[in-house]
């Protein structure tokens, strides 16, 4: 056995980088590889050598796996300042006491606490704990057992079907409704954060007129007077409503009744990101406004034109699942995804081929593809080409390859255009789908579920107000003063200093006192959707009945009740309004009571999913549309294109007050609590800026300052500004002062992108915190991806050594490397294990928030995160890969062909069989369970942190401070009572959701049966045990179950050809396996990448 290469660390290697012992099999596999054409036949373990190098120099591993994995530009380039920061396990200051304490003060506090400790130690008797029983126990409730209710979350014109867990009357966890056709049990980060917003103590509580508190009754009388006058007079011609896009049947009904009473009142709706361009394009191409619904499960080739369909609401959960199924080789041949986009998006991360172009060039790309595909699409292409030239150079080859692939897969491909793109691009996408014969196969057209929400309506509304045509403005849309483009004029009109302001009254309802509420006359605190009855359509037409889980906590008024005031009728509660409406809809139903019961309990109105519409394309209308398109002015020399995008975490700002989402690392940049200005390395080079430098962005005659984040893979000559930050809402203190407000540059004419911005260095710097550099694994590659071809042949030496290292069986007989005897599980009922499929994982982070909600994980704040003290048990590592990017070294970092690819890898405690943490705990606080769990016993933990030091995966989290202290009563209500709330000085980590295991086990044992898993639950049914991350995952990338059951999906994945174990070479024997991600590149485009494999 040859371990020489490995066991001799290079001189100067710190001992914490001690290198792994390579199993005999790894060396043997290398020997085997000699038969093939091998560049260095004498090098036995190149990986070991590479790791030697990595450990010595601290640079990302190169060459050993035939690939380079790196996490940030600085790491890739091995900048010394950077290596100093991440070399040690914890960054500087990680073990310091909280800031703001001088040493002397600290000593005083210590002294005081010792004295107090002495005083409290005088009695062992806790103070009496009270048990408060119900006066009358609700019949459905058994104290101590959870109840699940179907409900929904409406936002941005789509209702997500949810299943909500309640404990003794308080909702504690949000999950997707398994019966909902879009959710299918999954829930994204917004749905999870939905719960936190319910309990947010900063929510508005007071209904007020100006600064005076008012009762709902006073408001009702006021409105009644207004409506009474208007209905007999001008028919409400001076009343305007500004709402969220309406997708609710009951709300639609209310509106139409208001319109009957006030025929001249007008409704406008506003959403930041809308499907309007797509609808407009469908109107032009098909003669009617239609929503396109894609079926990615049938698509072999997908072209995304700036469409982030895997993450962009509302269809993402369904699309991500369909897409992921086609990335799994077990489900048939892999699909191929082409993405043309500006910033690196989640969808871009899943792409097989990605084209970095500015947003304004997307039309040119679309036109070139349409030209090459021919058919009906070609007619539009020439019109479009005059508006935006097709990118030249390497992009030509890319476009030719895409068009060829699309043509070969006619009827089995799909072209998707993004919401940020103008209708012209959507028209081309529709035309391409028609030309390729995809309509009816991979694309279906459905009736539009919501009305137009575009800025045209806003223009009209503002003009009316300016023209003095409005007396009353009712705003139920989320925070238009903040979220509308800066030149909309609404903020100025609402400003008390405006001369016309006294001539009209504004009523606004929202969960929070925000930027808009500061300028209105009447403010009504809204009831959270979990506090009121409502309904809503999902994008495919499915109607969900959303039932409340709790009485309004802060005197909120449901939106239906508020709107119903304009009917000037006797008061009906929201429940009555909804029930009456559905009673009216159920004319043919004999037994309405049981019908209603089933609507509410299932949460879905049967048969409401929309049927596809037959369409006939007409390119003439589309040509007119494209001809009418005003292309943005091209950026002049020294100018850049600016792009606005909804943030991945807080959307357009409406989730900004959710600390879970603020602290969630952005899926791509991994930044917390801030929004950056994203630019490409080459642009950074041009501007001579480093990350964290503050730039002044001027566009039009407006200026803002924003800190730079250099994003490999971003389009050159463009900058991306995420929306939603820089909030100044009065009471939204979590959101206040985080990041900068990109809305201050957005204009009505160019809400998403435009050329002509200048970027100037200010000389200031700003500290952006990215978690991606925390917990260095010293350059050992832990995320693996290969192309289908590499995987089929398994010929490359890189792939072979990678597999030998991650899959070698260290427990094989004769292997003496392990000193510890193996655990025996023969008698255990279950043997828990997990599998994470990197081919399916998009990195959307739904699992991270689900874990946080389930396990009472605290939020620690930006300062604490900057010291590597974030507490999320589950992290998603984002690796860049691709050699040949910076081969010339740091100076050439802006090399034009820098096309890094992304691999996402969720990592939580892998529950090692031979767990390094267990050996070093002096107090047995982390021990092995009889079923193979690596238990963490909080009450034993004394906080030595030895376990974390010894954990090679860096998945243990330490409570440096008492993070759960000082919670408001409503915040405490969000806590899961099945999980201990940890105190200061305690280590914690992923438990495989042991509280769920134990509850399910006990329920099964009482019934004297085994736990039912998916495979035994029967067709179409769910098993009864899921971890929180598994439940939330839209792509089913996470599988959990018992390895004792050979039929279990997790067991099959553990034996899957693609499985590998993280750092298996260390002999830890993880219970969580990862599955290699496969890429499916187009052979026609693979040629320039051939150099990658060379060494």
């Amino acid at each position: 056995m040859n371990t020489k290469n490995d066991s001799a660390p290079s001189p100067g290697t710190p001992s914490s980088f001690a290198l792994p012992v390579v199993p005999a099999q790894a060396a043997a596999a290398e020997e085997h590889g000699h038969g093939h054409d091998h560049a260095h036949p004498h090098e036995h373990d190149e990986v070991g050598a590479a790791l030697d190098h990595a450990a010595g120099a601290g640079v990302a591993t190169e060459g050993g796996y035939g690939k380079t994995y790196w996490r940030s530009l600085e790491e890739r380039l091995g900048k010394p300042e950077y290596m100093e920061t991440v070399g040690p396990e914890f960054p500087e200051g990680a073990d310091l006491p909280p800031t703001g304490f001088a040493r002397r003060e600290f000593m005083q506090l210590i002294g005081a606490s010792v004295a107090l400790a002495g005083a409290t130690a005088c009695t062992t008797r806790p103070s009496d704990e009270r048990m408060v029983a119900f006066t009358k126990t609700p019949p459905e409730l058994t104290p101590g057992n959870p109840l699940h209710y179907a409900s929904g979350m409406t936002f941005a014109g789509h209702t997500s079907g949810l299943l909500i867990t309640a404990r003794e009357g308080r909702p504690v966890k949000v999950e997707g409704n398994p019966q909902h056709p879009v959710n299918q049990g999954a829930a994204g980060i917004y749905e999870q954060a939905f719960l936190l917003s319910l309990y947010d103590p900063q929510r508005a509580r007071v209904l007020r007129q100006g600064k005076a508190p008012r009762s709902v009754r006073t408001l009702a009388e006021e409105i009644a007077g207004l409506v009474g006058k208007a209905s007999t007079g001008d028919g409400g011609a001076r009343i305007r409503f500004l709402t969220e896009p309406n997708n609710s049947p009951v709300m639609g009904h209310l509106r139409s009744r208001i319109q009957q009473k006030l025929p001249n009142a007008r409704f406008y709706s506003h959403a930041t990101l809308t499907q309007d361009p797509s609808h407009e394009a469908a109107q032009a191409v098909f003669g009617q406004a239609l929503t396109a619904q894609y079926d990615f499960s049938q698509a072999d080739v997908i072209l995304s034109l700036d469409a982030d369909f895997l993450e962009s609401r509302p269809a993402n959960l369904a699309y991500a699942r369909q897409f992921a199924h086609r990335r799994d080789p077990k489900m048939g041949s892999l699909n191929r995804l082409y993405v043309a986009e500006t910033r690196y998006s989640i969808t871009g991360g899943m792409a097989d081929h990605r084209l970095r172009v500015r947003s304004s060039d997307i039309l040119g790309v679309a036109a070139a593809v349409a030209q090459a595909v021919g058919g009906q699409a070609a007619g539009l292409a020439s019109a479009a080409a005059s508006k935006s030239a097709a990118p030249s150079g390497s992009a030509e080859k890319w476009i030719a390859a895409v068009a060829g692939d699309l043509r070969n897969a006619s009827g089995r491909c799909v072209v998707v255009a993004g919401e940020r793109q103008p209708a012209a691009v959507h028209a081309l996408a529709h035309a391409l789908n028609v030309a390729l014969g995809n309509v009816g196969k991979t694309v279906r057209y459905l009736p539009v579920a919501t009305e137009s929400t575009g800025l045209a309506g806003i223009r009209e509304l503002i003009a009316d107000i300016k023209g003095g045509k409005v007396d009353t403005l009712v705003i139920t849309a989320w925070n238009p003063v903040y979220s509308l483009p800066v030149d909309s004029g609404l903020a100025e009109l609402l400003d008390p200093k405006h001369p016309e302001r006294t001539k009209f009254t504004v009523l606004y309802t929202s969960l929070f006192e925000d930027e808009t509420s500061a300028l209105v006359d009447w403010f009504v605190p809204a009831a959270h959707q979990l506090e009121s009855w409502s309904d809503g359509r999902s994008f495919d037409g499915t109607v969900s009945i959303a039932q409340p889980l709790i009485q309004p906590l802060f005197n909120g008024v449901p939106e239906t009740e508020l709107l119903a005031l304009f009917l000037d009728e006797p008061f009906r509660p929201a429940y009555q309004i909804l029930r009456d409406f559905w009673r009216g809809q159920a004319a043919g139903v004999a037994d309405f009571e049981s019908h209603w019961e089933s609507l509410v309990s299932v949460g879905i109105v049967p048969g409401s999913t929309a049927a596809a519409v037959n369409v006939a394309a007409n390119t003439d209308g589309a040509t007119a549309l494209i001809n009418g398109y005003q292309a943005p002015k091209p950026a002049a020399t020294g100018q850049y294109e600016i792009n606005f995008v909804p943030d991945y975490k807080i959307y357009d700002g409406r989730f900004a007050n959710s600390s879970w989402l603020q602290e969630l690392p952005d899926p791509i940049t991994k930044l917390v609590w801030d929004n950056p200005l994203l630019i490409s390395p080459r642009t950074a080079e041009e501007l001579k800026v480093e990350r964290g430098d503050v730039l002044e962005v001027s566009y039009g005659n407006r200026k803002i300052q924003a800190p730079v984040w250099i994003m490999p893979g971003h389009a050159d000559g463009a900058a991306t500004l995420p929306l939603g930050y820089g909030r100044t809402g009065l009471h939204e203190t979590t959101a206040q002062g985080k990041g900068y407000n990109a809305n201050l540059l957005r204009t009505m004419n160019a809400p998403w992108f435009d050329g002509g911005a200048t970027l100037t260095k200010t000389g200031e710097t700003y500290k952006l915190i990215s978690t991606q550099q925390h917990w260095s694994t010293a350059g050992r590659p832990v995320a693996l991806d290969f192309t289908v071809e590499e995987w089929r042949t398994k010929a490359g030496h890189g792939i072979k050594s990678a597999l030998a290292r991650t899959r070698g069986d260290l427990d094989a007989p004769g292997n003496k490397l392990n000193l510890m005897p193996p655990f025996k599980y023969d008698e255990a009922e279950y043997k828990w294990g997990m599998a994470i499929d990197l081919a399916r994982c998009t990195g959307c982070a739904a699992c991270v928030v689900a874990c946080q909600a389930e396990n009472n994980i605290p939020v620690v704040g930006k300062d604490q995160v900057s010291r590597s003290r974030e507490m999320q048990w589950l992290r998603i590592d984002r690796y860049f890969t691709g050699a040949g990017i910076f081969e010339g070294g740091y100076e050439n970092r802006a090399s034009p062909d820098s096309e890094p690819q992304i691999v996402m890898q969720p990592v939580m405690c892998v529950h090692c069989e031979k767990a390094p943490c267990e050996y070093v705990c002096p107090v047995n606080a982390t021990v092995h369970s009889d079923e193979g769990l690596n238990d963490m016993v909080y009450n034993r933990c004394v906080g030595t942190r030895y376990c974390s030091n010894n954990c090679p995966y860096k998945v243990r989290r330490f409570n440096y401070l008492h993070y759960t202290q000082g919670k408001q009563p409503t915040e405490k209500m969000a806590m899961n009572p099945d999980v201990t709330v940890r105190n200061r000085g305690v280590m914690e980590k992923c438990t495989y959701c042991v509280q769920r295991i134990e509850r399910t086990r006990i329920n099964a044992r009482i019934e004297r049966r085994k736990i039912t898993f998916e495979q035994s639950a029967g067709e179409g049914k769910q098993g009864e045990l899921h971890t929180a991350c598994q439940q939330a995952c839209p792509t089913q990338a996470i599988t959990f179950g018992s390895l004792h059951d050979p039929e279990a999906r997790v067991t099959k994945l553990h034996n899957d050809e693609r499985h590998y174990k993280l750092l298996q070479e260390l002999g830890t024997q993880p219970r969580t396996v990862h599955l290699v991600r496969l890429r499916n590149p187009n052979p026609a485009l693979a040629a320039p990448k051939a150099s990658e494999g060379e060494h």
Partner: protein
């Protein structure tokens, strides 16, 4: 003057202080350890004053009301449940409906205010005890709660320490009883040790008892 620098008695003093140096901490620590394990330390001898003078002797022994009539969730929930005021009133609306003992109950019922009972069997917050699994596997009420039928006011009769829990979890068979006697206060295993053991083993098999001792069984 010559002579010993220290007088003779200092020998004794030094010996005593040396012994004291060892003994005082040992006694101190030993004493504290004994104290926390003592009935006093585990709250076993502590009287509890409840908001209502509820007498289990009367209800259990005299009236022979089954435990599950009031603590009805014990077989299906982690919590045995404190009966709601409605449960009290379901009988006491008819009988003793003028009794001064029940004034507070009636007040609470009609005011729709909960009765703040004092918790007697109080486990630490990091312990997740589940009543349902114990009761369904043949561990009787009396095993942990003692002779409730003889208590005027509920007190804690067993130490409820982890050692006490684990003792049974390591070998549950002597503590099992047939399910039909699960709430019986007076059931005793057969007198003959062999017979008792045989019964325990038979029940463990019949009820599919697998008591576990992994930490996460109780600590999560």
């Amino acid at each position: 003057m010559s002579g010993p620098l220290f007088p003779r008695w200092t020998n004794t003093v030094s010996r005593l202080s040396a012994a004291g140096l060892l003994a005082v901490p040992a006694i101190g620590i030993g004493g504290l350890m004994a104290y926390v394990r003592s009935p006093y330390g585990t709250n076993m001898q502590r009287p509890y004053e409840q908001p209502i003078e509820f007498d289990h002797r009367h209800h259990v022994r005299d009236e022979k009301i089954d435990c599950r009539f009031c603590h009805w969730s014990v077989e299906k929930s982690p919590s045995a449940g404190i009966p709601s005021t409605t449960v009290c009133m379901s009988c006491h609306a008819q009988i003793w409906n003028k009794s001064p003992y029940l004034t507070e109950v009636r007040k609470a019922f009609f005011a729709d205010q909960p009765i703040p009972w004092v918790r007697v069997h109080n486990l630490p917050d990091f312990v997740y005890f589940n009543h349902a699994i114990h009761v369904n596997k043949g561990v009787g009420c009396v095993t942990c709660h003692g002779r409730v039928d003889e208590m005027a006011a509920i007190e804690q009769q067993k130490p409820l320490t982890m050692g006490w829990c684990v003792e049974c979890h390591r070998n549950p068979t002597p503590h099992l009883r047939p399910l039909e006697y699960i709430t019986s206060m007076t059931w005793t295993p057969p007198a003959a040790p062999q017979e008792a053991q045989g019964l325990g083993e038979k029940l463990a098999k019949e009820y599919d008892v697998h008591s576990r001792t992994s930490c996460s069984t109780c600590h999560r």
